[in-house]
Amino acid sequence: MNEFWVILTGSLVGITCGLTGVFLILRKTAMIADAISHTVLFGIVVAFMITQSLNGFWMLVGAAIAGILTTYLVQVLQTGGLQEDAAIGVVFTTLFALGILFITLFAGNVHLDVEHVLMGEITFVPWDTWNVFGLTMPKAVWMLLIVLLLNVLYLVFLYKEIKLSTFDPVFALSIGLPIVAMHYSYMTLVSLTTVAAFDSVGAVLVVAMLIGPAAAAYLMSKSVPGMIAWSMTIGVTAAITGYYLAKLWNTSIAGMMAAMIGVLFMLVFLLKPHDGWLWKVLKQIKLKNVNAS
């Protein structure tokens, strides 16, 4: 039964992050997501410092604020003349270092150890439960379901808007679309997704889950709905195969899931008909043979 919860959690991470990741890739904000996954640590620590509790709700609030703060600071630095990649780098490393400092100064004796943040403890997920409306499930599952719902609602209501502001922000602005609000709201959604996921799988895997499945889906899809479907599927596949392989080889589940994301991406990258690297290489070899003969 416990194994069921672990696999379910992993799958939910795959589905939710796969969904959120689609527009991260399309908006070319993958590295801001990476930054946010590091700065949520800072947000959580500050939330703990203020509320003195490890309550999941305050963690979400801290994470959301950290996400908005990260997005905002990157924007500010860019406006001040710094190129985007460096802006991201400066903001996230600084906030991350600050977060670690705060942990050692103010929370050194609490179970907020940094390794847990990075790698999660998915095997402990079944034991930490919430009882909501009479249904008892692991806290991680609840949080992921809530965030999944938020993601779905966001896309249901704002699909046209996020699509257009991603594809052609110049045009979007001309018809009155609030593209800045879209950017911040989406990054907030990313922050919430990150926090819901990394209690169980850690910051490393969240980044892999947000970026990898969507990146592979990007290579495969001709439409946004298609990309969403593929991304979620690849996310779940990586989660489940990662779990079983980790069990088989007795190693880190989160790490293995991230590794499987890489494997699946490579499969798509190499083997996709016509666009895959191996296909292109084979075509060139065929051409050479044709020319030679």
């Binding site: 590295m31 460096a86 991201i88 780098g89 892999a208 990898g212 980790a246 880190s252 790490g255």
Partner: protein, 298 residues
Amino acid sequence: MILTGNLLWVLVGAILLGIAAGLNGTFAFLQKQSLVGDAAAHAALPGIALAYLIVQQKDLPILMLGAAITSTLAVYMIQWIVSQSKLKADGAIGLVLSVFFGFGIVLITLVNQGASGNQSGLNDFIFGKAAIMAKSDLIWLSGSALLIILMCLLFFKEWKLMIFDPVFAKGIGLPVERLRILLTALTVLTIVTGIQAVGVILMAAMLIIPAAAARFWSNHLGIILVTSAFFGALSGAFGTIISSLRVGLSTGPIIVLSASSLFLLSYCFAPTRGLLSKSRKKKVVKQHKVVQEATSHE
């Protein structure tokens, strides 16, 4: 605060690291590849773990070799993916970074379960353990820093051209590919020697922040390089000294925060490109306009 033997080692090491990271970071920054350095730093982890799994002991040069191999692999994979598919740089960097790191965690977990138990100390590579720098670490750090400084002096003109106009550089016969490989190799060397001090995660910070700060002070490559190296060294020194003042403070984060402070100062106060200076200029333009309007009424 007593400048004990070990503290002196750490101080010198941190300064050298700062210089090396500042120099390498500047080149990465100017090629808009600051985050590739982040990925390369994260990608060092699986290499270290693999090397350990193979030789079964914490032999620093071998571990560093492993780190260098996977780091370099990561850099080239990013380029490969971007050039051979639709995926853009940000996606490729994020993907490679997290997947390599994931592999690293898998391997480290395997190592920790091996015969030597979890005393392998490999976890130190993730967060750094600058406070305990051995003499051998220092030798590697100083070697790599000196090497980079030397290469910067030798290849300054060539790298400058390669960055700003690679097509022209090729046209006049510069071996652009080899120059690029050399630069990548040096960056990987810096990363690999640096992660012992500040760890994988914070190494990226040292590659990015001093260079970004230096950029605000000048448009000339030479000045940016020197400023960046200086900022890096200063951060290393401040970080080490401040963190030694209190028990339990990790050196890594404090070095990074020192660098961030220097960045903030540069961002606000640098002449010409700093925030303060720009807002003064805006006021001048506005005043000029007001004067124009006032004196040109029909």
